[in-house]
Symmetry: C2
Subunit: 391 residues, 2 copies
């Protein structure tokens, strides 16, 4: 299937090198990594190596990495560890723009005995740090701030927040699912306690993730079961996928610079082209503080879903809102938190690139999307001849 | 690597047909199943089919199947759903011989406000049903009884227990990880509320599982996050593995009879051969109420680990205790619950076969294991010339 895939914040292609690394463990070497026999033990040794590779990408120690089944599980694990280890504290701080893995979990906790403070963002998606610091209290069990927003691509100043929290006894967790693999991340420089990583966002397979837990951070398992992951996550090791994740981390580590240069330049070319060629197109998110692969653009007075469907006919894959909220007709909670008007939030499209994209693909989109927008606007009751009918 | 793999209760080989079904989704079709574009949607449609196949194996409706990351997650999901949906009830009933996914979870809950009743088994591993029924109360939130024990292979009378519980408002859950794929399981005949299934125990990949939730059973998600699995399990769908699990369920459905005949006959040949050729070898588990693929034999006065290591040199893979408790020196909690003496529990070996085994392999083990046992006993301080030194 020939597609122009610009939906890499939703999920990524498994790198061929990653699949090559996985294949022996999907075929001949299927032993249980925890078994006594060598047929299982040899798999266990590959998991040791994978853990080292994941750790190396973020400059952690291998013992600080727990493999999970996905970013959502990593988030749930971090949050449960924090609140179970500090049972007397009943306050949580997070942002208004978190991924549903955090947002919905904290909404659940807010109904179950916890007080949750939701830190706002401004119209460019930038976090209100003073609001955050003003709400820290002796009762705060955990602060969860995503490293980079999945929809707008806006990067939050994790290092700065970590410094501010360092002197307090508050667990600092970051959902870094969109950051790790796209930005340099060094946990030794940053005073984070816990950080969530997802495999399928960085060219590993779906169904595997990791949680960084800084040495000395109190921990209590979320997935209670067997002794795996040194009693920190029960369940038979997902060996092939863990080994694939190790390989993927090794690969993206060597691609970070390319993402910052070639991918960023393609993203800028795409963004500039669309903003120039389409009237009433607005960029969502602060221009100079974003993931290098992401652009989120609102095309006013039309529906994002309609744009996606027409792009789909040309094989262009992108997203309106985050993939995790698609299927619902509500506009994205991220764009609403940024105060993007309803008429613009509904027509927002997120393009997220990877090293597999080409300039040719970018040019194809820049050429073919403007006429789609024009056609849709001509059908829209809210739009007439380039001007808005409603005020 | 040429091995005689008799450790199928620990994990199984991915069936080649299953891997074939997965490959397109590990390569070309990597879209996010929840995406609006067709590149993702086509993956979503394959997940619909996979769900139908898993449902068909146990005679459930597809809407009653939730995909998870493993059997442990299925267990945790079931238990959390039951206790969150019945917050005033603080009593749990389970068995003394559950898998660590249930055992350790209930031990955790026992320290956190719940009263847990552990139903004993007799020396043959058979459950004390009267004890179970005597302990049911108005306060009981959930009864968790495994369908078949992973170590002894003993099958519990789930249908009978379900009938007894039917008139009471108690959630009945079964960890059926060892049963589904080896025994006929029909949830419409059995009044279970929830049932855990694991992919990698039935020739699907590691890292995928399912939970059956009977229509009408109150539910609350364990993995809180995005809208996936109809808001019942957050996290990007692990599409390739889910599709693999669908195929595996289709396959094992057609192999159930072969397991009951050919595999059972190999198991019996192995068991009879070993019990006949090795003195002081004892069968653990009731002979006529076991999984057709499992035999657990204690070789008195020697260490299971030593037996495993020497078998390993011949390429024979088996298990001492369950794989999930290996790495620890404690004897299996299952065998202790059955009252197997220390000197016998330590020397227990579990062989678990699959349709991939051959009679030739069985004969190889029956021929080569007795001299191993003899050699080890000659080195044992507790054994001399076929007789026990200690009383």
């Amino acid at each position: 299937m020939d597609v122009i895939y610009m939906d890499n914040n939703a999920t990524t292609k498994i790198a061929p090198e990653v699949l090559d690394a996985m294949m022996p463990y999907l075929t001949d070497y299927y032993g249980n990594a925890s078994s006594m026999h060598n047929f299982g033990g040899m798999v266990g040794r590959q998991i040791v190596e994978a853990r080292e590779k994941v750790a190396a990408l973020i400059n952690a120690d291998p013992g600080e990495i727990i493999f999970t089944s996905c970013g959502t599980e990593s988030d749930s694990t971090a949050v449960h560890a924090a609140i179970r280890s500090n049972p007397s504290k009943k306050h949580i701080i997070t942002t208004r723009v978190e991924h549903p893995a955090i947002k919905n979990l904290y909404e659940y906790l807010a109904k179950n005995g916890y007080r949750v403070t939701w830190v706002p963002v401004d119209s460019e998606g930038v976090l209100d740090l003073d609001f955050l610091y003003d709400h820290l209290s002796e009762d705060t069990a955990i602060v969860s701030i995503m490293w980079a927003n999945n929809e707008s691509g806006v990067i939050f100043p994790i290092d700065e927040i970590a410094e501010k929290l360092a002197s307090r006894k508050i667990v600092f967790h970051s959902d870094a699912v969109q950051a790790v693999g796209k930005l340099p991340v060094d946990v030794k420089k940053t005073g984070l306690n816990m950080m969530s990583i997802s495999g399928h966002k960085l060219h590993a397979p779906k169904g595997v993730g990791a949680l960084y837990v800084k040495k000395g951070t109190k921990f209590s398992p979320f997935m209670i079961g067997g002794h795996q992951e040194r009693n920190r996550r029960g369940g038979t090791e997902n060996s092939a996928s863990i080994i694939g994740m190790g390989k993927a981390c090794e690969l993206v580590g060597s691609h970070i610079e390319e993402i910052d240069t070639r991918v960023r330049s393609m993203r800028d070319r795409l963004e500039d082209g669309l903003l120039k060629n389409v009237p009433n197109a607005l960029l969502n998110g602060k221009k100079d503080a974003r993931l290098p692969n992401t652009t989120n653009i609102s095309f006013e007075y039309i529906e994002g879903e309609a744009i996606l469907l027409m792009m789909d006919q040309l094989g262009i894959c992108a997203s309106s809102g985050s993939a995790c909220t698609s299927g619902s007709l509500e506009p994205s909670h991220v764009l609403r938190a940024m105060g993007v008007p309803f008429t613009a939030a509904h027509g927002s499209i997120r393009f997220s690139l990877s090293t597999y994209n080409t300039e040719k693909e970018v040019d194809f989109v820049v050429e073919n999307l403007p006429p789609i927008i024009e056609r849709l606007r001509n059908m829209s009751p809210f739009w007439k001849e380039g001007a808005c009918k409603v005020q």
